[in-house]
Symmetry: C2
Subunit: 191 residues, 2 copies
């Protein structure tokens, strides 16, 4: 997706060979116009998939997921990383290990909003090792709903997540695929 | 805002005299069409205020804030409740006490995305005791930026937050003002 790649080149900061900081438009400050373009692109790619729900995870997944939900005309559910006072019972839960933070967290969604008739699209901001996407897919499977696909804003293609998800049979659509961050430079996959 | 009040009446759950659960469309599952309407309403109310940035807090503030940002044509910054790996330095910080959770947390935004020329609109999902809004306003003041107003999706008008914010001179615009949750019934302010 050209506009996204340009934004990454212009405003992304390469912190190391593995870490791309996009706090200027996605992970902290959010560019709503770009989010709308991202939503339209996800909707275009999945428009014939019969999606009934979008599942994402707080916090950075919410903006692109809501814009995709607006375009597809379906609700969005964001998984929480912790339990809040008003969301204690009747949860689907999954464990997600973050290689970045070296911590395991529990993610959860209410079982009230997802059922066996749902065809769910997972959306997340980043794909690196694939653990968050797998956790979200696990929540969907617990509801006996179908995982129609996984939509990613920025994929770090040099890490193992994409292949892991493909090997499990998931359709993966990443709007920007970063081949390398070496030498402080962002290079995109061209295939 | 009529559509929001109807949604609260139809899908909100009164858990107690003080707790209104809106996990069906705002705090967990999100209705993107309603969020767009909310964004348009905030934009209409603040269109002449010269806003340059919207400031919200993860996670439930993000969807309404991004839709308002889209309508107003300005970026959104969401404050984080904890520090992440790629957001360590150069932060404005504030302490926020949650009466609901009875815990204090630190909220923070990067000093890179907000400066003394900014006119900032605070947006949040709920207004109860006003502590989150005050914390966000504090972050904006630390940047020597102006707090143009505070936009709230659902105000619990029977709690002290609104008056606290008005007493400090802030303009408060709440799209739904809940007068009471007594007897399991939602009653809105009519004034």
């Amino acid at each position: 997706m050209h506009a996204l790649e340009q934004k990454i080149l212009n405003e992304g900061i390469v912190l190391s060979d593995k870490v791309l900081k996009v706090d200027a438009f996605l992970n902290h400050q959010i560019d709503p116009v770009l989010m709308q373009q991202i939503g339209k692109e996800f909707a275009a790619r999945f428009k014939d998939a019969g999606i009934t729900k979008i599942i994402t995870i707080e916090a950075s997944g919410i903006a692109p997921a809501v814009m995709a939900g607006l375009e597809l005309g379906v609700p969005v559910i964001f998984a929480r990383k912790y339990q809040s006072l008003t969301l204690k019972d009747d949860l689907y839960r999954s464990k997600v290990f973050s290689f970045t933070k070296q911590t395991e967290s529990t993610i959860a969604i209410s079982n009230k909003h997802l059922n066996s008739h749902d065809k769910a699209l997972v959306i997340d901001d980043f794909l690196a090792n694939g653990q968050a996407a797998l956790g979200l897919a696990d929540l969907i499977h617990q509801a006996n709903a179908e995982v129609v696909g996984i939509g990613i804003v920025i994929e770090k293609s040099f890490q193992s997540g994409r292949q892991l998800l493909l090997d499990k049979g998931y359709r993966v659509e990443s709007l920007a695929r970063v081949q390398s961050l070496e030498n402080g430079t962002v290079t995109f996959c061209r295939d």
